[in-house]
Symmetry: C2
Subunit: 642 residues, 2 copies
């Protein structure tokens, strides 16, 4: 079977992008075939997507569009960006359709489009909030109005729908709106800076799908407008940094402000770079990347430290209990990572995408696919939250429901992020059971089957099922977390050395039946954090493979807040098939500390000789993503060192 | 000189409160005569109050009232509660007038009242926002409208003005408005729950000043309405906990929600208790007090951990860099403490008032009295803040300018909080140079002069200047921080033991010329925090006397973020008369740690054997309140233990 039909798949079609070092694979090239991701995709399809459609009906998202179609001027429900949730759901459903035909799901998509299509105004404008709730006030609130944000999600949904079905029904709607925007804004027309980036990356993709270069130019225009204070300070948060309007995109050196906005913007800048190759854009992205990973990143890959403004904090401002780590920000980080990987071919971007996917996105959805975290802290006391922070329970939906359909579209498109090709071969970026088939320019059609119980087992077998003609290169990402990685080709240990980009390149004339065996080190690891981070001082975290672990209260022998970990006792891992849909737990040893001396007070004179009585206890850690699936529960990722 | 004229002084007149264990002293009873507080009062009078009046003119507070008087329906500037800043400024100025006549200041007060008086509507209603900006929408937004909040500050200003000048001009305005509110709300009339408490305590004080019992009943009515969800969830923060409407006041067991709101409310509940003696109110306050001091209090006395909603966090949620610790919340805590002290006579409340005053309020104003912190963190990296948090520089005023005039009114009324009397004697709660004269029911007029360089010097001399007739008791608070306290009467060591309330009671027939010498331990102390607090783990703080210290970058030999303190090296104190208007610095020893191994990354596998290279350095600590008076500067209270 050759699957390189030329039609693109997934959210990014960089098959023709002149400045992509790696090329995305076409529709059908990757089939996820088992393991954790196949399970997540099945739940996404069978439970999450139908649940999401029900929620869109209940919350009023579809009704808002119908009101707009009917000319109503009252009855709008929800925040200004309700349309975007519909578009993200369609995008997710379309990615599912691209994986496997599903008439039921297709019918739901059609029902959603039935609501969208007639809501479009004769001039192409489409936004239910400004049509129903604030008629006559189009394009008056770039900071918080989210019109271009909603437009962007429409474009992405339309592109995904077109790719999945071949139908241009939604794409035509999108093009009419894009053309309206293009007639309205641009050089010599009106200025615009989207208060919430998203339309930039979407316009580039719409360009890729339609070939209409005006859309790429418009994306560039919207980027160029930033950093001149045009938006003014945010009326809610007092600063232009909130929506990345403090400095021009080419001068940016920090990730700052609202985290989702910041990383949707970097994704958009990356998309423009992929098409234009402008060095200043790449340099700015590299500076911001460095700022993020060296100063503003949680161990889980989560980003955005502040509840206030849902924003990046100052360097090293990474509280655990108060971490915001919005699910959408983690997804945005993956979207950016993926484009950086396409731009550079460097494994560090796939490394972070993997960390973020397993630990900061997967945490955002319950095992049954129907309960969601907006906020993903690294510690919680398990008690109800009277005020605002979210507390230890996932919710079926949110008043601001950006996260649930965002998780759905990422899970549905996971196959997109597993592999790429270049002229000489195939690159594996993420591991898991899958079949990957691609038409190489040099070697013609090739296909491999990846077999693995990853991330639980570090052994990955790659079997060549279609061998192509002549030599080609199979590149394997060497995860930074794997202390040692063994590779054997047809049973013979390979002495290939990693290349400078973090990949092992196996170049040969492959034969059907060739087998590459990779073994990543799955020994549980203790991790320490930069001493400037105040929340992790004196603490250790547990990792195994790509997973960050946590202690959840119900697995422990003593109150979580009194536990310490003993780093001298080696950690062990054990597969628990019946726990949390099947996880490897990590067991260690530590202490429970008697806090009686602290009763009733928070501070006391330092008593250097005094040590509180301790009792040795076993510690059992689960993957951090799986917490809060057994009822409200205290949890912590970072454990004081005993 | 006898000063017990019967006319009350200061913000609380509990001279007639039936359930006060201790009685407030009348006008003129206390004169602050030197030291840090005399200096702060002089700056308050000479610099801060004139500066504040200019700011009220510039920001539009007075113009708003003039617009209301003139019947305008546009031109209002600022947030809805702009009137309250005017009232708090008048209250502060009136407290100053009560200390010493000042025609210039009195003229400014009259100018302010000239703006207020004609803004009152014929029916007694008075609020410039709802008169100018939202006419016809009076009493429609109890959650966020702040009408009753502004009314409360008017009442307090009017009472202070009446007490200071004898003029009923502003008091008449206040009574007309109070009567209007009383006609509008109450049993059988309309319900009301103030979204921002303040009017409750003010109504009780208006009752005390006027004898009009309806005002006390109204305060009780407003308290009784809470906790039934009448306000609904805050539209900004999603919860009734935000404005303490989650549980009835008699069932409250936690301090929760917006910190200033929470503690203005507890102050109001305490005021009602002082008049009614209802046990359930006292019990609820005790429960909330315990929750605050055992789970939600910063070392500085600051409260309110969260920037989002300016709120108390969950137990032990006490980040340092992200501490909110609004200056107003610290003031609210002192107002509550003072009433708890009057209710119980227990030193723990005066202890916390002292801690909060020196460390969480004084930090909020610059040494020159003209620059203010809204937020008082316990650590700052000294770098500019792009977003919102405030950064390391005080501002001359704020868009939401509640804090500056709040500091002014507290500083102007400090004498109020130094001492009380009961039937048998005089109680000293706060120490510093002052003369205190009071007419005791049993012993008649007595007077003492307190001489001390407190808080820099722990020696306090109390000289009896007027001895009264027969025995009376001089009670001295024994601060919890003083490890040992020596007391001598006329040079003879006293063997009096502390009473059960935290006071040393010296009962005798006093003779003019008697001298009591007290010596508190001023040895600098290292403090450790509850191990459940994540931000202070492995850290120590420095205290000396009532002061919390900090390291400020410019006093150190290495970058602040790389410093550790060596607890084995004793701390020493030294008086620096030319530094920061005169402070005792505390010197210690520690290390600067080489962080080179961490360059470019935040996390790494734990390396148990590895210790980073360290170099010994001297550490110099200043009182935490004095930071940010020498330009932007990194600062930290909690220092990692090396």
């Amino acid at each position: 079977m050759t699957t390189d039909t030329g039609r693109a798949a997934g959210p990014v079609d960089a098959t023709g992008s002149p400045h992509a070092v790696l090329r995305t694979l076409p529709a059908g090239a990757v089939a996820v075939e088992g393991g954790i991701w196949a399970k997540r995709q099945a739940i996404n399809r069978e439970a999450a997507l139908p649940h999401g459609f029900r929620m869109l009906q209940q919350a009023g998202n579809l009704d808002n569009l119908r009101l707009a179609a009917g000319g109503a001027t009252e009855g709008y429900r929800g925040p200004v960006f309700m349309d975007s949730d519909v578009y993200k759901w369609i995008e997710a459903a379309a990615f599912e359709l691209a994986r496997r035909p599903d008439p039921e799901l297709e019918a739901l998509i059609e029902r959603a489009i039935d609501a969208i299509e007639p809501a479009q105004q004769p001039d192409g404008y489409l936004n239910s909030y400004y049509t129903v709730a604030e008629p006559g006030r189009r394009w008056t609130d770039f900071g918080h109005g989210h019109e271009l944000y909603c437009a962007g999600h429409l474009f992405q949904a339309a592109v995904a729908h077109h790719r999945a079905t071949g139908s241009a029904r939604l794409l035509d709607v999108a093009r009419r709106f894009a053309d309206h925007i293009d007639r309205t804004f641009g050089p010599g027309k009106r200025p615009a800076v989207p208060g919430h980036p998203e339309v930039e990356t979407a316009l580039v993709e719409l360009y890729r799908e339609t070939g209409e270069r005006r859309y790429l130019a418009l994306a560039g225009f919207l980027l160029d407008g930033r950093g001149h204070g045009w938006l003014g300070p945010s009326r809610r948060y007092g600063s232009s940094a909130y929506f990345q309007d403090r400095v021009p995109v080419r001068e940016a050196s920090e990730v700052e402000g609202h985290a989702v906005r910041a990383l949707y913007l970097t994704a958009g800048v990356a998309d423009v770079y992929l098409e234009t190759g402008e060095r200043a854009l790449l340099d700015a992205l590299e500076r911001q990347w460095h700022d993020m990973v060296a100063r503003k990143l949680y161990l889980t890959g989560g980003v955005g430290s502040r509840h206030l403004a849902e924003a990046f904090g100052k360097p090293y401002e990474l509280p655990n209990e108060l971490a915001y780590c919005e699910t959408c920000a983690a997804i945005a980080s993956i979207l950016w990572c993926w484009r950086m990987l396409l731009m550079t071919g460097e494994a560090r971007f796939a490394d972070l995408a993997e960390r973020t996917l397993y630990n900061a996105v997967l945490s955002g959805v319950s095992l049954d696919g129907q309960f969601y975290f907006y906020v993903n802290p690294l510690a919680d006391d398990g008690e109800p939250e009277h005020l605002h922070r979210g507390g230890p329970s996932r919710k079926p939906w949110h008043d601001v429901a950006c996260c649930p359909p965002n998780v759905m579209r990422l899970v549905a498109s996971l196959g997109h992020y597993l592999a790429t090709r270049d002229d000489h071969g195939l690159q594996l970026h993420q591991y898991g059971a899958a079949r990957i088939a691609v038409d190489l320019p040099t070697a013609g059609p090739v296909a491999v089957r990846v077999e693995s119980a990853y991330p639980w087992d570090g052994r990955v077998r790659i079997a060549v099922e279609e061998d192509g003609s002549g030599p080609w290169t199979l590149s394997l990402r060497l995860p930074a977390w794997s202390e040692e990685t063994g590779v054997a080709v047809n049973g013979e240990p390979s002495d290939a050395a990693p290349d400078g980009r973090g990949y092992l390149r196996l170049e040969r004339v492959w034969t059907e039946g060739d087998v590459v065996d990779v073994a990543f080190s799955m020994r549980p690891r203790l991790i320490e954090a930069h001493p400037r981070i105040e929340s992790t001082r004196g603490c250790l975290a547990i990792e195994r493979g790509p997973l960050v672990y946590c202690l959840e209260q119900q697995d422990q022998q003593a109150p979580l807040s009194d536990l310490e970990i003993d780093p001298a006792v080696p950690l062990t891992a054990a597969w628990e098939p019946d726990l949390l849909d099947g996880v490897a737990v990590v067991r260690g040893s530590g202490f429970t500390v008697d806090r009686a001396a602290w009763a009733g007070r928070l501070y006391r004179p330092y008593q250097p000789g005094e040590t509180a009585p301790k009792r040795r206890v076993d510690l059992t850690a689960i993957p951090a993503y799986a917490w809060a699936n057994r009822g409200p529960n205290a949890m912590r990722v970072w454990i004081p060192r005993g």
